[in-house]
Amino acid sequence: MNESIENYLRIIYVLVEKQSDKSSGIKITDIAKEMDVSKPSVSSMIKKLTDQKYLKSKPYSKVFLTSKGFNEARKITHNHRVIEVFLKDVLNYDMTKVHVEAHRLEHAFSDESIKRLDDFLNNPNLSPFGRFIPHKNDDVVLPEKSTLDNLKMGEFARIVSAPGKGIIRRRLLDMGVVRGARVVIERVAPLGDPIQIKVKGYSLSLRKEEAKKIDVVKE
């Protein structure tokens, strides 16, 4: 597929991820800003994408991904982020260079190579930037952003980010609730609160109201 088409689809996917209401469309101005390209260029590209049935759009208004477009965008995003993981964790690239280098490589990897890379990395769920890596059968762009309190007992997940600010956040960070840390709920107190989780190899208890603020991604 055309490189620039892939790039656009990926950017649109990112914009959809950022939306809280996934059913409202994407503005052309947002695409232009994100890609750092002029509106007219974007418009002509949008027309091309619509013709090829990746997008639905009306002139001068918002665009929507079709299911064909969504599948393609998801695949490209997946590939891009898996390569980012590879670059950071295996090749030790700096965070500043990871994105650009992934950008270079993503168009060159075949499906087979991506699959092998995925296997090699153990099917990661999180990019180095904390973004979810979508897989083939994921129905929604982002799974319900899961929080620590939503996990069932025994369900493993990885931390996306520690909550808010101040002492509680600091304490949680110091206790190992950092991005990428593997957690699981071990038990719940008899009265229903607090919960006991396992993190960094030991047991930590915290209240559900705190756990609610910790974003996780299920394994």
Binding site: A162, R171, G176, E186, V188
Partner: protein, 675 residues
């Protein structure tokens, strides 16, 4: 070359065996106090090794070295200001990653670190195999395997300490934060090196890291420097850049980097099974924090603790009372034989012996309590108790750990206030202390018994129960009020480790008990003694007056204050004097009435009916329940809050609350037609 003053500091997480090692090295040659101006415990001691006297300090248990908690600030200040020759970092081998997080920060700080790997047996049970040699290379510090509870590895540790000291080699800092972060740290470090000209006790690299991390203490320190503002300005540019790149705040970036480094080292040096083995702790927890069994087990243990602390202590308390009674008798006899004047006899017997006795009589309870608490803490159960009770406590604005002090308050408020030490957060501790006095302590019971037998003979149990209940209800109300007013907006987190269960050492528990009990004797003891002396003086002046009679100073004071109590139904001077004496110790109230009405216990009930009505009796009991706690309690409050202001606040607010509630009870009762 033998040093003249050799100093070691012990640092590490809580629950890693640090204090066990400290106790085993120093035995009784230790001293517990507070860090100046803070409510953090300071433990120092010394021991001998190869004829060398080694001073050792047990730094507070910490997970990190930020500026967010007193314990962390005290720890890092000590290391930077006092430059201990060696810092032994005790690490729990079965919990490596989180423990090493602190290790990394100790190395950053520039301490001369030796890592003592403890609890290897527990790690073995988890089938973890640790290559300590490799770990030592990766971290850049020497490592010794020990078991703190016995002598395993002790000699190696101590000889390594001496070796490291005499080699004069400084700890190398091999910590790698990732290229991005590393380069920025070095960049800021160079700026600091060039801009801060005076000798600073801090390492410039550590300053760079802390500044980027926005460490409040260090930022304030740098602002005082001449080029401080420029350094901070450069730092904020770096910070902004990092936040853009990583998409997160600097604190998370650094935590991530440190944990990343640690994880890398652990991955290389530790072999662990694919799936975590089910541990004994796990098995116990399945029962102890079980949905159905958890609370009953907890209540049972609380009941046991209560029984042991108070009932088991009773024989001892009785013995002490008896001995002091004996002592009083003997001294009276001796002094009479010497023809001493009455006032001198009274001074010795009533005041001095009486005063000291009233302190010593607390000791069995205090010591037993500390023994119980240290047992609960060291075994790991205290954390589970807090875990179980937190939901209930949180609704009143308290912490799960607040439950224990409140329960203890039913026995005696003094150990209850002291038990608030187990709360890490100052706010939680303060709030708990503020409502603990509402728990009707056992010293108030004699007062209730006296009045209910005289005024409510057919409903004794019910009336007494209503008083206890009133106390609890007011405690909850007060908690809620404080939560929304004085403490509004300050919530504390419940982020608490649940350590593995361990069998506490008898030696450790006994040392704990002795050290804390000793403190009570010295601090509270002095105040109680002085108070008794003052009361004695006021009761015996002007000279020649009958002890605590209407014409003594205390009687005059009583008469003066009495009108305040009129709206509450007991505006008589005897009640006022009894209540004043009750501030020294609540159980004194009954004895005071006896002395003032000049009757023995038999006739006291009758004597009281002349002055009280059933309604005013109930009002008086309510007042006794609620008003200013006894001086030993106040002394403990001062100690645990390190503030005289809070002590006075408690004394005052409880007196006010008592007056208001008694007023409502009495006047309301009158309105409803009771007498």
């Amino acid at each position: 070359m033998t040093p003249t003053n050799f100093n070691i500091a012990l640092a590490g997480n809580t629950n890693c065996g640090k204090t066990t090692l400290f106790n085993n090295l120093t035995g009784m040659k230790q001293h517990v106090g507070n860090w100046p101006g803070k409510t953090v415990e300071k433990k120092e001691g010394f021991f001998y090794y190869n004829n060398l006297k080694i001073n050792i300090i047990d730094l507070p248990g910490t997970y990190s070295l930020t500026a967010y908690s007193m314990e962390e600030i005290v720890t890092r200040d000590y290391i930077v200001n006092e430059s201990p020759d060696i810092v032994i970092n005790i690490v729990d081998a079965s919990n490596l990653e989180r423990n090493l997080y602190l290790t990394v920060q100790l190395i950053e700080l520039g301490a001369n670190v030796i890592l003592a790997l403890n609890m290897n047996r527990l790690a073995n049970k988890k089938e973890m195999i640790i290559d300590s040699k490799k770990l030592s290379e990766l971290l850049g510090i020497p490592i010794v395997k020990i078991e703190a509870i016995d002598k395993t590895g002790r000699d190696e540790l101590l000889s390594l300490v001496m070796k490291v000291y005499s080699s004069k080699k400084k700890t190398q800092n091999k910590i790698h934060y990732g290229n991005e972060l590393n380069s920025h740290i070095e960049q800021l470090q160079r700026i600091i090196d060039s801009k801060i000209k005076n000798e600073t006790k801090y390492l410039s690299k550590w300053l760079a890291i802390k500044i980027i991390e926005e460490d409040e203490e260090i930022i304030n320190y740098v602002l005082k420097e001449q080029n401080g503002k420029t350094i901070l300005h450069d730092a904020s540019k770096i910070r902004k850049h990092l936040m853009e790149v990583y998409g997160d705040n600097v604190d998370a970036i650094f935590a991530d980097a440190r944990y990343g480094f640690v994880a890398g080292a652990v991955a290389e040096c530790v072999n662990r099974p694919k799936v975590d083995k089910v541990t004994t702790t796990d098995k116990i927890d399945r029962i102890v924090t079980n949905k159905f069994l958890g609370i009953p087990i907890f209540l049972l243990l609380m009941y046991l603790m209560f029984q042991i602390t108070f009932s088991a202590a009773n024989p001892l308390v009785g013995l002490i009372r008896y001995l002091f009674g004996l002592l009083s008798q003997q001294v009276t006899i001796i002094l009479s034989l010497l023809n001493s004047p009455d006032w001198l006899i009274s001074l010795f017997v009533d005041s001095i012996i009486g005063g000291v006795g009233s302190v010593i009589v607390f000791l069995p309870n205090i010591f037993l309590l500390f023994l119980m608490i240290s047992f609960l803490e060291d075994s790991g159960y205290l954390a589970r108790a807090a875990f179980i009770m937190d939901k209930l406590m949180h609704q009143i604005g308290l912490h799960g750990k607040s439950f224990i002090p409140l329960i203890l308050g039913f026995g005696c408020n003094v150990p209850a206030v002291m038990a608030t030490r187990t709360l890490d957060n100052k706010r939680d501790r303060l709030l708990t202390i503020l409502i603990t006095p509402f728990m009707s302590c056992s010293a108030r019971l004699p007062v209730y018994i006296l009045f209910v037998s005289a005024f409510f003979p057919s409903n004794q149990g019910l009336i007494v129960f209503s008083l206890y209940l009133l106390g609890v209800v007011l405690a909850i109300t007060a908690g809620l009020v404080f939560k929304t007013t004085v403490f509004r907006g300050t919530t504390s987190a419940f982020v608490m480790e649940l350590p593995p269960y361990r069998l506490p050492t008898i030696k450790g528990s006994l040392i704990h008990m002795w050290e804390r009990g000793k403190l009570f004797i010295i601090k509270a003891g002095t105040i109680i003694f002085l108070a008794v002396l003052v009361i004695w003086l006021l009761s015996n002046l002007p000279l020649g007056v009958l002890y605590a009679s209407e014409s003594s100073i205390i009687g005059i004071i009583g008469k003066f204050i009495a009108p305040i109590f009129a709206p509450l139904g007991f505006g008589v001077w005897q009640a006022a004097v009894a209540l004043i004496f009750g501030v020294v110790a609540k159980e004194v109230i009954v004895g005071t009435f006896g002395a003032l009405f000049n009757v023995g216990t038999q006739g006291l009930g009758v004597a009281l009916t002349a002055v009280f009505t059933p309604l005013s009796a109930y009002s008086f009991m309510v007042f006794t329940l609620l008003y200013t706690p006894c001086i030993p309690t106040l002394a403990s409050i001062k100690r645990e809050t390190a503030s005289v202001a809070w002590m006075f606040f408690v004394a005052a607010y409880l007196a006010v609350v008592a007056w208001i509630i008694s007023f409502i009870v009495y006047q309301g009762g009158l309105l409803l037609g009771f007498t």
